[in-house]
Point group: C2
Chain length 405, copies 2
C-alpha cells in the first residue's frame, strides 16, 4: 500500500498539457537561434475566433441559464432533470442504443470529471485495472490515485491502418489474471485512431466472458474524418450494466471553457458516480449546464464544416511531417490529435520539447505522458488557426533536423 507521499510522487504533472509555464530548467545546451513565427500551443485546442470558435448559441444559453437563477444554479448533483432527458434522447440517437435520462446519465465538470467519477465508482485499493498504452495521460494516474494497480495493454497503432492495433491477447490475459475494469479511449487519444468493428466486438465478447466493466472515453467520436466509420461499444452485444460511456461538448465543439462532460450507461454505476460527485465538486457548474442544450443541436452543416476544416488541416500537417526523414505518423481517423514518432534525437525527449517551446514557440506534449514507452513521440492538438499550425509544424521539422542523432 502506498503512503500519501508515494502516491503523489507518481502523480506528476510537470509535463502535462498546459503546465509548461511551471517548468524551470537550464537552457544552456540549446543549439542555434530562435526560429521566428506565430507561437502555437498544441497542448490544447485554440478556441479563439481565428481558430475554432465555440458552437453558435452556446453563450446565449449560458446567459439564459444565469437569468433562470436558482433552478439553474442548484440542480440535482447528477445535473438538471429536464436537461438530462434532452441529452439522453440525443445520445440514444447518436450511439444507436437507448439511454435513460432519469437513471443512466450524469452531467459532470468536464469529461475529466466523468473519468474520475467512473473510475472512482469501480476501483479501490488493490484493484487491478487494464489501461491502454498509449492512452490519455490521466488514465493511469487515476488508477494509481485510487489505490489501484495498472495492468498495461499494448496498442501498436503504427503497424495498422484498418484497426487501432490493440493487443487483444494481452487484454484477455489481463482479464484471465483477475482484472475486472478496462478503460480505453476511442478514438484513441493521443493517436487519433478508431477501434474497428472487429476490435469492438472482441472487447465486448471478452468483457462479457469475464464479467468485466468497460469505461470507454468517446470524447472525439463526433469529429470523424471522411472514409471512416465508428462503432459504439454500448450498441454492441454487451450487457448495458457493463459499460459506461464518456463524452462531452469539449474540444470538438470548442466548449472546454464551460467545463462540461457526461457519463452514461450502467445505472448502478451512475448512482455511485452521483454519490461521489456530491463530495468532489457537488455538481457540474449550474449555469454552464444550460450550454448542453446546444449539444447535438448545432446549426445545420456546422459540424460538417468543422470536420472539413480539421481534415484539410490534418492533411496539410501530414504532408509537412511526411517530408521529415525518419518521422513516422499514422493518419488520424477522428479527433484533432497527431502523434508523430520522431527520428532518434541526441537529446532527451523532454529537453527537445522544451527547446521546441523556447526556441520555436511551439508547445507539444511529450509522448511519455501517454505511455512510458513513447519516448520518441509527441502529441499535437491541431485544432488551431490553420496557417499558424502549418508554419509551426514546419518549425518542428527544422528543430528535428537541428537535434537529430
Amino acid at each position: 500500500m502506498l503512503t500519501i507521499d508515494e502516491k503523489f510522487a507518481r502523480l506528476g504533472t510537470d509535463h502535462a498539457p498546459g503546465q509548461e509555464v511551471r517548468q524551470t530548467a537550464d537552457d544552456s545546451n540549446f543549439r542555434g537561434e530562435v526560429l521566428p513565427g506565430t507561437p502555437v500551443d498544441f497542448s490544447h485546442g485554440d478556441v479563439n475566433d481565428d481558430a475554432f470558435a465555440p458552437t453558435p448559441g452556446a453563450f446565449e444559453e449560458f446567459v439564459a441559464g444565469v437569468h433562470r437563477g436558482g433552478s439553474q444554479a442548484y440542480t440535482e448533483y447528477r445535473g438538471g432533470g429536464g436537461l438530462r432527458e434532452m441529452v439522453a434522447e440525443r445520445l440514444t440517437a447518436f450511439t444507436g442504443h437507448p439511454v435513460s435520462g432519469a437513471d443512466e446519465l450524469i452531467i459532470t465538470p468536464g469529461t475529466q470529471g466523468a473519468l474520475f467519477l467512473a473510475l472512482g465508482a469501480l476501483v479501490t485499493t488493490g484493484d487491478r485495472v487494464a489501461i491502454v498504452r498509449p492512452d490519455y495521460f490521466a488514465n493511469r494516474k487515476l488508477v494509481e490515485f485510487l489505490g489501484g494497480v495498472v495492468v498495461p495493454v499494448r496498442m501498436d497503432h503504427l503497424s495498422y491502418t484498418d484497426r487501432a492495433g490493440l493487443d487483444l491477447g494481452q487484454l484477455e490475459d489481463a482479464f484471465k489474471s483477475g482484472v475486472r475494469t478496462f478503460l480505453f479511449s476511442n478514438p484513441n487519444n493521443p493517436a487519433g485512431v478508431i477501434h474497428s468493428p472487429d476490435e469492438i466486438a472482441r472487447i465486448a465478447a471478452l468483457a462479457s466472458q469475464y464479467g468485466a466493466t468497460v469505461i470507454v472515453d468517446q470524447l472525439y467520436s463526433r469529429l470523424l474524418y471522411s472514409g471512416n466509420s465508428y462503432t459504439h461499444l454500448r450498441a454492441s452485444s454487451i450487457d448495458a450494466a457493463q459499460v459506461v460511456t464518456i463524452m462531452g461538448p469539449s474540444k470538438t465543439e470548442s466548449l472546454s471553457g464551460y467545463r462540461l462532460g457526461v457519463a452514461f450507461g450502467a445505472s448502478h454505476l451512475v448512482d455511485r458516480m452521483e454519490k461521489l460527485q456530491a463530495i468532489v465538486s457537488l455538481r457540474a457548474p449550474g449555469y454552464s449546464q444550460a450550454v448542453l442544450r446546444t449539444w447535438f443541436a448545432e446549426p445545420a452543416g456546422w459540424m460538417q464544416d468543422r470536420i472539413v476544416k480539421h481534415e484539410a488541416l490534418r492533411n496539410e500537417l501530414l504532408a509537412v511531417f511526411g517530408a521529415v526523414p525518419g518521422l513516422r505518423v499514422r493518419t488520424p481517423q477522428a479527433g484533432s490529435y497527431l502523434f508523430p514518432q520522431l527520428p532518434a534525437l541526441d537529446i532527451p525527449l523532454h529537453d527537445f520539447v522544451r527547446a521546441l517551446r523556447v526556441q520555436a514557440g511551439v508547445t507539444v506534449t511529450p509522448g511519455t505522458e501517454f505511455s512510458p514507452d513513447a519516448t520518441n513521440s509527441v502529441r499535437l492538438n491541431f485544432s488551431q488557426n490553420h496557417r499558424a499550425a502549418v508554419e509551426a509544424a514546419g518549425r518542428i521539422g527544422e528543430m528535428i533536423a537541428r537535434y537529430r542523432r
Copy 2:
C-alpha cells in the same frame, strides 16, 4: 479495508441537501391537511432577484472572460496566474497573514472541490482524521471515500454563547492517539457559531505540539453579524505549512452557480492539490474563474447591506422559533444557517422532514447529515426571500405542533 461496495454504501446522498427530488416514500401516515404558502427550499440559498442576487458585475466579468477566449478557457490547473496574484493580495488583507499567489493558492470548482483536494492531499488508506460533530455533511464522507477513518470530536454549541463549544480534550486525545489531520468549518456549518480566539489559539497550539495539519473551511467568514469578531487560524501562532484555508465566492455572494472556490496555505499541499485537480476536473471552469475579479471588490456598502438584511431575517426567524415550546436554537454569529433542535416528535426525523416538504412546502436538511447524534435537529439555509422564509418558519412551528410527542 473496505470493498468498493462497502465504500459506496457509506456514501449515501438520499437525504443530502438538494437531493430530495430523488426520494420515494409512503406518505399514508401524514396527519392533517396541506398548509398553504409559498414553498421555500432551505436546503440552499435562493439566488433569485427577490432573495439574494449575485454580486453586481459578476456576470459582466464572466462575459469578458468568454471574450478573452483561449487564455481564459485554458489556465494552469491551479487557475490563471494573474488572477491568483490578485486574489492572494485580497486574502492577505482579509486574513491578516501573507498569501503567495504563485505558490500558496489554488482555484477550484467550488469550495467542495477545494475540500476534496485538501483531504485528498493528506489522507490515504488507514489514516485517521479528526472531524467535528456536527459539521458539514461531506467532511466525514470525504475521509471515508479516501480510505481514512473518522475520529469524531464533539461540539456542544447549545451549551455556550461565547465559544463554539468544541471539546478540546477530545481533540487532544485524537492527536495523542496518532491523528495528524483535523478538518473543521469556522463559522460552523450547520450551527453558524464562531470559534472563539481562545479556541483557535488552543487548536493552533495542539496542532503545533503534535505536528498535525489543520484544514479550516471558512466559507462563511465574511457574513459576520454585529457584535461578533472572527479569528483566522492561519494568522495565529502556527506554522504556515500546517494550515490550509478554504473559502470561495459562493453563498455569501450568491455566486454558487459559477462553481468557484479557493484553497490557500501550505505550498507543498497546494502542489499536491494541483496534481490531484489535474485528474479530477483539470481546472475550475475557465470562464467562471474571471468572476473572482469581483470577489472582495464588491461595490462600497454592498456586503454590509447583505449582512444587515440577513441579520434582520435571522432575528425574525429566531423570534418565530422562540415561540415554539421545547425548541432549542443558538443565535448564529455568522453565515446563513440555523440549526434548531426540535422537541421530541413521535415520528422519525426523516419522516418529519418529508412531511414538512410534502405538507408544508418547506425543505430542510435533517441533522443526521451533520452528526449521527443530531437526530432531533434540522438545518435551514435562511438566505431566502424574507417574507417567504418567515412564513415558512411559521409553518415549521405548526408542523411541530402536529407531530410532537
